[in-house]
Protein backbone atom coordinates (compact mmCIF):
# COMPACT_ATOMS: atom_id res chain seq x y z
CA UNK A 1 0.00 0.00 0.00
CA UNK A 2 1.45 3.32 -1.04
CA UNK A 3 -1.21 5.95 -0.46
CA UNK A 4 0.87 8.43 1.57
CA UNK A 5 1.76 11.47 -0.58
CA UNK A 6 5.42 11.40 -1.53
CA UNK A 7 5.99 7.93 -0.06
CA UNK A 8 7.52 6.70 -3.32
CA UNK A 9 10.22 9.42 -3.03
CA UNK A 10 11.29 8.70 0.53
CA UNK A 11 14.24 6.53 -0.42
CA UNK A 12 15.67 9.22 -2.70
CA UNK A 13 18.66 11.18 -1.49
CA UNK A 14 18.32 14.90 -1.00
CA UNK A 15 18.04 17.65 1.61
CA UNK A 16 16.19 16.84 4.82
CA UNK A 17 12.92 18.77 4.66
CA UNK A 18 11.02 19.76 7.78
CA UNK A 19 7.76 21.51 8.41
CA UNK A 20 7.79 25.06 9.73
CA UNK A 21 8.16 28.63 8.65
CA UNK A 22 11.47 30.28 7.95
CA UNK A 23 13.88 27.41 8.53
CA UNK A 24 17.20 28.73 7.32
CA UNK A 25 19.18 26.89 4.70
CA UNK A 26 22.16 27.02 7.06
CA UNK A 27 20.80 24.07 9.05
CA UNK A 28 19.33 23.05 12.40
CA UNK A 29 22.00 24.87 14.41
CA UNK A 30 20.84 28.28 13.17
CA UNK A 31 17.84 29.30 15.34
CA UNK A 32 17.13 32.57 13.48
CA UNK A 33 13.63 32.96 12.08
CA UNK A 34 12.36 29.74 13.57
CA UNK A 35 9.08 28.88 15.21
CA UNK A 36 9.15 27.55 18.79
CA UNK A 37 9.39 23.92 17.64
CA UNK A 38 12.44 24.67 15.50
CA UNK A 39 14.14 26.58 18.31
CA UNK A 40 13.38 23.75 20.77
CA UNK A 41 14.82 21.19 18.33
CA UNK A 42 17.94 23.28 17.78
CA UNK A 43 18.55 23.77 21.51
CA UNK A 44 17.87 20.07 22.11
CA UNK A 45 20.69 19.17 19.72
CA UNK A 46 23.10 21.73 21.17
CA UNK A 47 22.49 20.44 24.70
CA UNK A 48 22.70 16.85 23.43
CA UNK A 49 26.10 17.43 21.83
CA UNK A 50 27.24 19.20 24.99
CA UNK A 51 26.16 16.23 27.10
CA UNK A 52 28.03 13.79 24.83
CA UNK A 53 31.13 15.95 25.32
CA UNK A 54 30.50 15.91 29.07
CA UNK A 55 30.14 12.10 29.07
CA UNK A 56 33.74 11.75 27.91
CA UNK A 57 34.93 14.60 30.14
CA UNK A 58 33.26 12.84 33.08
CA UNK A 59 34.95 9.53 32.24
CA UNK A 60 38.25 11.40 32.00
CA UNK A 61 37.76 13.06 35.39
CA UNK A 62 36.74 9.77 37.01
CA UNK A 63 39.93 8.23 35.62
CA UNK A 64 41.76 10.37 38.21
CA UNK A 65 40.42 7.92 40.77
CA UNK A 66 42.67 5.26 39.27
CA UNK A 67 45.60 7.44 40.37
CA UNK A 68 44.64 7.01 44.01
CA UNK A 69 43.47 9.24 46.85
CA UNK A 70 45.96 12.03 46.29
CA UNK A 71 45.08 12.74 42.64
CA UNK A 72 41.36 12.76 43.53
CA UNK A 73 41.90 15.14 46.46
CA UNK A 74 43.80 17.52 44.18
CA UNK A 75 40.88 17.47 41.75
CA UNK A 76 38.36 18.08 44.56
CA UNK A 77 40.10 21.34 45.44
CA UNK A 78 39.61 22.54 41.86
CA UNK A 79 36.09 21.11 41.53
CA UNK A 80 34.80 22.95 44.57
CA UNK A 81 35.88 26.37 43.32
CA UNK A 82 33.19 28.92 42.42
CA UNK A 83 34.05 28.81 38.73
CA UNK A 84 33.81 25.02 38.57
CA UNK A 85 30.53 24.94 40.50
CA UNK A 86 29.12 27.49 38.02
CA UNK A 87 29.95 25.10 35.20
CA UNK A 88 27.99 22.44 37.12
CA UNK A 89 24.94 24.71 36.93
CA UNK A 90 25.42 24.99 33.16
CA UNK A 91 25.59 21.19 33.05
CA UNK A 92 22.37 20.87 35.04
CA UNK A 93 20.68 23.33 32.69
CA UNK A 94 21.72 21.10 29.75
CA UNK A 95 20.48 17.94 31.49
CA UNK A 96 17.17 19.52 32.49
CA UNK A 97 16.51 21.04 29.07
CA UNK A 98 17.45 17.89 27.15
CA UNK A 99 15.54 15.62 29.52
CA UNK A 100 12.37 17.68 29.76
CA UNK A 101 12.33 18.47 26.04
CA UNK A 102 12.86 14.75 25.45
CA UNK A 103 9.65 14.06 27.38
CA UNK A 104 7.87 16.59 25.14
CA UNK A 105 9.29 15.06 21.96
CA UNK A 106 8.31 11.55 23.10
CA UNK A 107 4.75 12.62 23.94
CA UNK A 108 4.30 14.60 20.72
CA UNK A 109 6.15 12.17 18.45
CA UNK A 110 4.27 9.14 19.75
CA UNK A 111 0.98 10.90 19.04
CA UNK A 112 -0.15 10.88 22.68
CA UNK A 113 -0.44 14.69 22.80
CA UNK A 114 0.50 15.62 19.25
CA UNK A 115 -1.38 18.94 19.31
CA UNK A 116 -0.06 20.30 22.62
CA UNK A 117 3.62 20.76 21.86
CA UNK A 118 3.74 24.48 22.71
CA UNK A 119 1.86 24.05 25.99
CA UNK A 120 4.18 21.16 26.91
CA UNK A 121 7.28 23.24 26.11
CA UNK A 122 6.18 26.08 28.35
CA UNK A 123 4.89 23.93 31.23
CA UNK A 124 7.98 21.71 31.26
CA UNK A 125 10.04 24.89 30.99
CA UNK A 126 8.50 26.15 34.23
CA UNK A 127 9.29 22.83 35.96
CA UNK A 128 12.83 22.94 34.60
CA UNK A 129 13.37 26.52 35.77
CA UNK A 130 12.21 25.66 39.28
CA UNK A 131 14.47 22.59 39.35
CA UNK A 132 17.42 24.64 38.06
CA UNK A 133 16.93 27.29 40.77
CA UNK A 134 16.73 24.56 43.43
CA UNK A 135 19.89 22.89 42.10
CA UNK A 136 21.72 26.24 41.97
CA UNK A 137 20.82 27.00 45.59
CA UNK A 138 21.94 23.51 46.60
CA UNK A 139 25.24 23.71 44.74
CA UNK A 140 26.20 27.20 45.94
CA UNK A 141 24.75 26.45 49.37
CA UNK A 142 27.08 23.49 49.79
CA UNK A 143 30.12 25.70 49.17
Amino acid sequence: MNDVPGADRRAERGPVLRKGVGIPASGWFDPRGRALGGFAFSLNRVTGLGLVFYLYLHLGVLSLLLGGERSWSDFLRLATSWAFLSLDILLIFGILYHGLNGIRVALVGSGLVADRQRALWWSLGVIGTIALIAATLHIYGSK
Binding site: L59, L66, L76, G109, A114
Partner: protein
Protein backbone atom coordinates in the same frame (compact mmCIF):
# COMPACT_ATOMS: atom_id res chain seq x y z
CA UNK B 1 -10.97 38.52 12.57
CA UNK B 2 -13.62 36.47 10.81
CA UNK B 3 -13.29 32.72 10.96
CA UNK B 4 -14.86 29.99 8.89
CA UNK B 5 -16.22 26.95 10.68
CA UNK B 6 -15.06 23.80 8.97
CA UNK B 7 -16.15 21.28 11.60
CA UNK B 8 -19.80 20.23 11.73
CA UNK B 9 -21.69 21.43 14.80
CA UNK B 10 -21.75 18.99 17.69
CA UNK B 11 -18.64 17.09 16.63
CA UNK B 12 -15.40 16.97 18.64
CA UNK B 13 -12.03 18.13 17.48
CA UNK B 14 -10.19 15.11 16.12
CA UNK B 15 -6.65 14.33 17.23
CA UNK B 16 -4.15 15.00 14.46
CA UNK B 17 -2.36 12.19 12.72
CA UNK B 18 0.79 10.87 14.39
CA UNK B 19 3.99 12.62 13.63
CA UNK B 20 6.29 10.66 11.31
CA UNK B 21 8.80 8.42 13.01
CA UNK B 22 12.33 7.65 12.02
CA UNK B 23 11.77 3.97 12.79
CA UNK B 24 13.80 1.80 15.14
CA UNK B 25 16.28 4.57 16.05
CA UNK B 26 13.49 6.87 17.24
CA UNK B 27 12.00 4.10 19.37
CA UNK B 28 15.40 3.10 20.79
CA UNK B 29 16.30 6.73 21.54
CA UNK B 30 12.96 7.27 23.28
CA UNK B 31 13.17 4.07 25.34
CA UNK B 32 16.76 4.74 26.47
CA UNK B 33 15.75 8.35 27.14
CA UNK B 34 12.91 7.24 29.42
CA UNK B 35 15.32 4.91 31.20
CA UNK B 36 17.83 7.72 31.56
CA UNK B 37 15.27 9.99 33.20
CA UNK B 38 15.07 7.48 36.05
CA UNK B 39 18.71 6.36 36.12
CA UNK B 40 20.16 9.85 35.82
CA UNK B 41 17.93 11.10 38.62
CA UNK B 42 19.14 8.24 40.84
CA UNK B 43 22.76 8.87 39.80
CA UNK B 44 22.61 12.62 40.43
CA UNK B 45 20.77 12.44 43.74
CA UNK B 46 22.87 9.56 45.09
CA UNK B 47 26.16 11.14 44.05
CA UNK B 48 25.64 14.84 44.58
CA UNK B 49 22.51 15.68 46.55
CA UNK B 50 22.60 13.42 49.58
CA UNK B 51 26.31 13.72 50.29
CA UNK B 52 27.29 15.93 53.21
CA UNK B 53 30.48 17.32 51.70
CA UNK B 54 31.62 20.45 49.91
CA UNK B 55 30.07 20.77 46.45
CA UNK B 56 28.22 17.48 46.83
CA UNK B 57 31.32 15.54 45.82
CA UNK B 58 32.44 12.37 47.54
CA UNK B 59 35.89 11.75 48.91
CA UNK B 60 38.02 8.97 47.42
CA UNK B 61 37.10 6.55 50.22
CA UNK B 62 33.37 7.44 49.96
CA UNK B 63 33.40 6.73 46.21
CA UNK B 64 34.98 3.30 46.68
CA UNK B 65 32.42 2.36 49.33
CA UNK B 66 29.60 3.69 47.13
CA UNK B 67 30.54 1.81 43.97
CA UNK B 68 31.32 -1.41 45.85
CA UNK B 69 27.66 -1.71 46.89
CA UNK B 70 26.26 -4.41 44.53
CA UNK B 71 22.95 -2.58 43.99
CA UNK B 72 24.70 0.72 43.20
CA UNK B 73 27.22 -1.06 40.96
CA UNK B 74 24.35 -2.63 38.97
CA UNK B 75 22.50 0.68 38.67
CA UNK B 76 25.64 2.50 37.51
CA UNK B 77 26.44 -0.28 35.01
CA UNK B 78 22.93 -0.08 33.51
CA UNK B 79 23.15 3.73 33.54
CA UNK B 80 26.39 3.59 31.55
CA UNK B 81 24.80 1.24 29.00
CA UNK B 82 21.73 3.46 28.55
CA UNK B 83 23.67 6.71 28.34
CA UNK B 84 26.12 5.29 25.80
CA UNK B 85 23.40 3.86 23.54
CA UNK B 86 21.40 7.12 23.79
CA UNK B 87 24.49 9.23 23.01
CA UNK B 88 25.49 7.13 20.00
CA UNK B 89 21.94 7.24 18.60
CA UNK B 90 21.87 11.01 19.10
CA UNK B 91 25.20 11.45 17.32
CA UNK B 92 23.90 9.22 14.52
CA UNK B 93 20.84 11.43 14.10
CA UNK B 94 22.98 14.58 13.85
CA UNK B 95 25.37 12.98 11.35
CA UNK B 96 22.60 11.50 9.18
CA UNK B 97 21.03 14.95 8.87
CA UNK B 98 24.11 15.85 6.83
CA UNK B 99 22.66 13.50 4.22
CA UNK B 100 25.63 11.15 3.77
CA UNK B 101 25.71 8.60 0.96
CA UNK B 102 24.71 5.00 1.88
CA UNK B 103 28.40 4.04 1.92
CA UNK B 104 29.33 6.86 4.32
CA UNK B 105 26.27 6.02 6.41
CA UNK B 106 27.57 2.46 6.84
CA UNK B 107 30.92 3.89 8.00
CA UNK B 108 29.13 6.18 10.43
CA UNK B 109 27.14 3.25 11.86
CA UNK B 110 30.26 1.10 12.20
CA UNK B 111 32.23 3.96 13.76
CA UNK B 112 29.53 4.71 16.30
CA UNK B 113 29.17 1.03 17.24
CA UNK B 114 32.96 0.88 17.77
CA UNK B 115 32.98 4.12 19.79
CA UNK B 116 30.06 2.91 21.90
CA UNK B 117 31.73 -0.44 22.62
CA UNK B 118 34.99 1.29 23.55
CA UNK B 119 33.12 3.65 25.85
CA UNK B 120 31.34 0.75 27.55
CA UNK B 121 34.55 -1.27 27.87
CA UNK B 122 36.43 1.62 29.48
CA UNK B 123 33.50 2.57 31.71
CA UNK B 124 33.09 -0.99 33.01
CA UNK B 125 36.84 -1.30 33.51
CA UNK B 126 36.74 1.92 35.53
CA UNK B 127 33.86 1.05 37.85
CA UNK B 128 35.05 -2.56 38.14
CA UNK B 129 38.53 -1.46 39.18
CA UNK B 130 37.19 1.03 41.71
CA UNK B 131 34.75 -1.50 43.19
CA UNK B 132 37.56 -4.02 43.60
CA UNK B 133 39.61 -1.48 45.61
CA UNK B 134 37.01 -1.03 48.33
Amino acid sequence: MATIKTRPEGTRRRAPARAPRAGWSWIATTLTGIGLLILLTVHMVANHFVVASVGGLRSYRQILEYIANPAIFTIEAIFLLFVTVHAMLGLRGVLLDLDPSPRVQRWIDAGLVALGLLTLAYGYFLIGTLASRA
